[in-house]
Symmetry: C3
Subunit: 204 residues, 3 copies
């Protein structure tokens, strides 16, 4: 993997970590958790997908244990999001929409980061696509299981599907376009637009 890809991958995972941490905090506020419970949920959600990926790939100690950047991102973001979201005048509806938009950013970025990590570890292509999907969706599954609700990924068909198609698109583009950044941003944008359209259509 070229250095630029590796750096990009790390940057992507940090942005996705912040987005998933915020999304989990919003759900924690909706379930009336306090600041501490919200932070625990945020860390488990933001790091859960990559942790499962690293365990399945056999890459232990897992990523956040050797690089403290992720904890240093997820914890402050969770605390800031907690006090910001709790003070929104608006009711549950606006919070739910915010949750879904942040979650979409995490889904798109973690998917790409997961595919990259699996390819770097030598996984076959179908496994790399599934590892992208696991990295993108498992944080949200852990969040929902800990909140004692059926995981959104199982109820909404245009969630994991978008992750699988986005991961496939990323692999295809990586192989036809010399500049890897294009593949990253094109597949990221495609996944994000697709999720945003699904969320906007569900408004009615």
């Amino acid at each position: 993997m070229p250095d630029i890809l590796l750096q990009l991958s790390v940057l992507l995972v940090i942005i996705a970590t912040a987005a998933m941490s915020a999304s989990a905090t919003i759900q924690a506020v909706r379930h009336e958790f306090d600041a501490f419970g919200a932070t625990v949920l945020a860390v488990a959600t933001a790091m859960g997908g990559g942790t499962v990926r690293d365990i399945l790939l056999g890459q232990t100690p897992v990523f956040w244990m050797t690089d403290l950047t992720y904890l240093a991102t997820a914890i402050p973001v969770a605390l800031i999001a907690f006090f910001w979201v709790r003070n929104l005048d608006s009711g549950g509806g606006k919070r739910l929409r915010l949750l879904m938009y942040f979650d979409a950013i995490g889904l798109a970025l973690f998917t790409i980061a997961g595919v990259q990590a699996a390819l770097a570890a030598g996984s076959p292509l179908p496994v790399a696509i599934i590892m992208g999907c696991i990295t993108g969706t498992f944080g949200g599954i852990i969040r929902d299981v800990l909140c004692n609700v059926t995981p959104i990924v199982l109820k909404e068909d245009l969630y994991a599907t978008i992750s699988l198609l986005g991961g496939t698109l990323f692999i295809l583009l990586s192989n036809v376009i010399p500049n890897n950044n294009v593949a990253v941003w094109a597949s990221f944008t495609a996944m994000l637009v697709a999720r945003f359209l699904v969320i906007a259509r569900s408004k009615k």
Copy 2:
């Protein structure tokens, strides 16, 4: 481990993968999941037990990441089962019974495959029996947790018990009978008959 045992083990796991995939799909239809959610649940259920076993044994990347046979079994079986079960005239009762019979096949075969894998990895006998139980029951536990219901294995005492006794029987027979196939089929049949009797008695 002799070659024949290894081959048999692989074949058993594929049949069990298909059975658990079908059982999870039936439960997904009962919970009104769509085709995609049902497939995700089926893959998580069919591969969950063996994945937990491989992670505990430290055998990573886990089995389905290096051998695509399992994904290539679980996904088509889930899709076929989804459209077949959804079109059954009968109500939930018949679906529930089908689920339990398929689940019993998976329980019996995964138990044996799990004991074999643990013995091949050098685990002590009590641990091998527990690893057989984990391989046999964790897929169903993951299925039930994802569907937000209390896992059947904790409520029904003649479920994990049968797995533990079946694994013990398999180890005992393996040590007294020269032909290992006999140990496999005898313990498989014993577990299957025991579960079928329990399911039939619960009919009333």
Copy 3:
């Protein structure tokens, strides 16, 4: 790690295993599980935190697979606790309080054992503190998820907080006091007293 520390660590984990096994059994009786389901829940709870820690650290096969002491502790304790608790005259209230006291012992001891294991594996200090918290709290999280209730650790802020502060205290004391036993018992006592005060205050 000096021998005495290692021995102490093993002894602590065994006591904590017994306490968590008993606490899970009490919860199983409250949820009307039978003896077998209670034992499965007890083993998953007592070994769950350390298992997640070992998997994250990459130390596989995990601890209870190579050393049978833990299974030999958790299973008999669960069976004894099951028949003892079920025959208590008192109602659910007394059982709930017993559960919380045993759980507090497990939380305090597993936290120290988890910090020790992470430090021995070369983890940075913040990660060691979090690994102590994971070792101390994940058994209870698994217990609650399997019982289909929202994990206590997410609802009660003075639970994981005490584990994190206790782990921090242990690391601080280990660095200033030559005799490591003092650090162990001082931080254990601090966590236990803190949890007991929280439980006693929640009585009203």
